[in-house]
Point group: C2
Chain length 337, copies 2
């Protein structure tokens, strides 16, 4: 799936910033791509970029309107349809991560047919992937893995990309989830891919590259999550990770959505290496990324120092303390390769 | 997906028995369900059951015609359509594992609409599964795992079911692939399920049962296959296997479709236990099932004796030597439970 920037971020009339999380995330990580936002009356979210009408967006060169807001259940509110139709009529493609296909709504289907503008349903996978081959391909890859779902895997991969680019390194974030696809303009929500094609999809998402090029591959789930470990394993095999960073949320006691307790960081490192060496014998843990939001600054520092000394790799909170040391490690690997 | 027996097995005009493999497999394992076969002129396969016309099949009480033949590419030959339409017009459901949906062919869609007879596309998964929960459920489960794809996992699970039922044990084969679904009349091709729902689909396929009831769960792929390991892991977690049998083909040197060498049986046992204990801490290897077709009888016996002594569990070729000892082990586990 390839989504063309620049974007107009549609926030609808969501009641708070949380419901606009996707849109705000895109603006955070790709400010240059986001020419404006479109908000309906009553919208309680603000991405802090210019409000544009469809007409102004088209004039400014917007190529895709991303629906960066969601309501409960992932359905499309009827009163958002007119804005989508207007965008399509102006020749602007529309992308969403909703649970319904845009083309299942007759007015939208007709408008797309009229103008030829594209519809992107990121939650659905229409691309026909090959099965994974496991053949080593050139380029370097770092995968974010986790002790659980929702522990900062996407954020960490994006933070690594930003720091590496700032250092002039050749690096690309590779999206495996919906929001990530909007942020990178490319990728696939691998949880929606047919099970047989998980690793094959990742081989497509993070393809062969220059020997000094780093892919920062967005991880999903956890090898220890009873709902999603299959996705995580296929992702690990497809990524052929040279390096991985373990992401963790230290105050969580049970895994998201189930009653299982979190694995230790040690268990995650050991299992990731045991499984990952199938497609890359050189796989190594290069860092730990902790979401310390719920801890005080001193407490966070003590925790991170303890982890770094226990595991022999840098440990950081990307938001609080940056990812400089994590990138140092990747640079070292890159020089050896 | 639930497919109602009894069946009429449609073999079309396939050029050899291999192309009728699915149909012949159903007749092998469910002779009581297969009231007859339907063959077109030139058919070079024979399931050894009565040839029935659609009319005779309807009179005999057939509820589903299973397309048990495939040609290269999995498409439906145009000259098979008339037989499918005739079955539907007689009120008989039609089931296939082809790559095209039956309803995508206008004559078939119209005939199904006319009569109300059902269409089953086993290769497509329309059922909306929940995500796996990993919560322990009553009943006992034995999963077949493998050093590779196509090493006898379905056959072994079916042979275990047959032997257990012969002993009066409470046992059901649970299908996770196309042919298996036809044989059990229920199940899902889990390779076609969206990646997020692999373990959830297996929780549905092998549901809570009586404490002395055994599910014989058909395995898929291998934890060491770079294309399909994600499917295998989700299946292992969803099955919550109490017991597993390792299936192996001793003359194979590289894994099917890729260049990776086969893992050892020891590696498969260790990794299956390491991963499987997440949803069932009591998981244990209870046997080894070897396809010795390419070996002489004496050679096969020597190999199996060596494996049994090396791994401390019974080793057999189900086709040559039966699965009696494998079932003895499961009976012992059942008594302890």
């Amino acid at each position: 799936m390839v989504i063309d920037p620049p974007y107009l971020i549609f926030l609808g009339d969501v009641p708070d910033a949380l419901a606009a999380k996707t849109g705000l995330g895109i603006v955070d990580w790709r400010p240059d791509w986001c020419l404006g936002q479109m908000r309906l009356e009553g919208c309680q979210a603000d991405a802090g970029i210019p409000d544009l009408s469809i007409e102004a967006a088209a004039k400014a060169g917007v190529r895709t309107m991303v629906v960066g807001a969601a309501n409960a259940g992932g359905v499309l509110p009827a009163h958002w349809i007119a804005s989508i139709v207007a965008a399509l009529d102006a020749g602007i493609a529309v992308a969403t991560g909703l649970h319904v296909r845009l083309a299942s709504i007759p007015e939208i289907r007709d408008a797309a047919a009229r103008s030829g503008a594209k519809l992107h349903d990121v939650r659905f996978s229409d691309h026909r992937f090959d099965t994974g081959k496991g053949t080593r391909r050139p380029g370097l890859r770092c995968l974010t893995v986790g002790t659980d779902c929702s522990v900062g895997k996407k954020y960490t991969a994006l933070a690594l990309e930003r720091e590496m680019r700032a250092r002039g390194m050749n690096a690309d974030f590779r999206a495996t989830g919906q929001t990530g696809v909007f942020i990178s303009g490319r990728g696939a929500a691998i949880d929606a891919v047919a099970a047989d094609f998980i690793s094959g999809a990742v081989e497509w998402i993070a393809p062969a590259a220059e020997p000094d090029h780093w892919d920062l591959v967005e991880g999903q789930g956890s090898l220890f999550h009873p709902s999603f470990a299959g996705v995580t394993l296929g992702l690990l095999h497809g990524a052929q990770a040279d390096a991985f960073v373990v992401c963790h949320e230290p105050t969580r006691t049970t895994m998201r959505g189930v009653k299982h307790k979190l694995p230790s960081i040690r268990e995650v490192i050991d299992m990731t290496i045991a499984c990952g060496r199938l497609t890359n014998p050189a796989i190594a843990c290069t860092g730990i990324s902790v979401n310390t939001q719920k801890l005080g600054e001193a407490e966070a520092k003590t925790l991170l120092e303890g982890l770094a000394s226990e595991y022999g790799v840098p440990a950081t909170d990307p938001i609080r303390f940056g990812v400089s040391e994590l990138v140092d490690r990747l640079e070292t690997i890159g020089k050896k390769a």
